[in-house]
Symmetry: C2
DNA sequence: ATTAACTTGCTTACTGGACTGTAAGTTAAA
DNA sequence: TTTAACTTACAGTCCAGTAAGCAAGTTAAT
């Protein structure tokens, strides 16, 4: 009775099938949102019934979580996975990513749509995005500190603001770009903003906004 | 037959009811999205049936459009309506708005959620947000040009990027703030980023990112 | 001033469809 | 022979929109 008698487990193609489904799900959730996109939509795209998808993933919520985890593995591998670029290299990497993103609207759209949707009540992706931003902010903050040390700058006070701002500008730019790709240059504008924020830390200047005592 | 015999039209309280409904709709669409929020949810909040709401607005899509138009009237009156602040005053206004927004999550959330959701297929709010960003970008661009002229700076090349970036950073920061209000300081971080981008236009500096020829 | 005619602002009831999830059955691989 | 990978069928909700009805208010004619 103690013998676990068999484990034929899954077939080799199953992994491929799951990946197909995940890809279709990114596509559908990106173009219709999580709430708006249906299992039927995804099933159609891979030539299956919606029950087949539930067989693999159990529930729509679970599918979303695996979609998010999957993209984190494959796509932001550069940032999350292997070795995180450090110091200036991280900022160069972010700029490169912005230019790269301008050529793959699908995944960009999925992330833009899902991250904003995740702030709604009881959204299954909320915790994922919370954690993701926390991680990314701390990585960018760390890079700022490294660069500050390298360049002998002491400007701790705004580093966390700057880190959040860099992620914010990349995300916000994507929304504008998705709404009208001809109206903004995703790569160039992101690069400009990242340089400006970086300079704001490395070469702090007196405020432009604070009312100067006007000439007497 | 030619006589237009009557026009009792609407009762005076009707305007108030409509406003109540619009407020409830902002709340519901903000917390559940447009697709996720239902007419029933909104009806419950104003003590009505969902058919009553359709009586006033005709369809869910139409309700969304009126919600967006209504908020534009009342809330961004500062920016859209009366006199648009110009030059540095516009940037000061944006910073003030960021600080103000940190104290009224509801409307902020509605706009963050709906603007991102609007990039999905056939979303009824898409055109609204497209136009809105186009307008805002050109207003911010204009302010940049005014400030450049005032300060004798000639830096046309990046003004459009900077304008898009300022809006992007404000929007992107809101998403991070909504996900975890304790993790980012919405007002302070927005202010820092706006100052940095403004400085990037007014006091252009050599790139921090471009690989410097390392010391010989 | 009264009343008749009409309109607004709803409600109830219903339609038709869509969606997630489940259960049971089928096929083919291990 | 067991199990994975499905399919078909169905259950139970839920949702936007429509139709019909009704009470209360408004207007016009008397």
């Amino acid at each position: 009775m103690a013998s676990s008698r068999r484990q034929p487990r899954s077939r080799p193609e199953t992994l491929l099938r799951r990946r197909e489904i995940l890809d279709a799900a990114i596509d559908i959730f990106g173009s219709k949102g999580f709430t708006g996109g249906t299992l039927q939509d995804i099933a159609d795209q891979v030539g299956m019934t919606h029950a087949g998808i539930l067989h693999h993933f159990g529930s729509k919520d679970q599918l979303l979580l695996e979609v998010l985890a999957h993209r984190d593995e494959t796509d932001v591998a550069h940032l999350e996975g292997k070795h995180i670029p450090d110091g200036l290299a991280l900022f160069r990497h972010l700029v490169m990513t912005a230019f790269l993103n301008a050529q793959r609207g699908g995944i960009v759209q999925a992330y833009a749509v899902l991250s904003a949707e995740s702030v709604t009540d009881d959204h299954p992706g909320r915790e994922f995005f919370q954690r993701r931003y926390t991680t990314l902010r701390s990585e960018v903050s760390h890079a700022f500190r490294v660069v500050c040390t390298e360049q002998g700058v002491d400007n701790e006070s705004n580093i966390d603001d700057a880190a959040a701002a860099i992620l914010a500008v990349m995300d916000g730019m994507q929304v504008q770009w998705l709404l009208d790709p001809t109206a903004v240059d995703l790569g160039r504008a992101s690069e400009f903003a990242i340089e400006a924020i970086l300079a704001g830390i490395l070469r702090p200047q007196p405020s432009v906004l604070i009312e100067p005592a006007h000439s007497p």
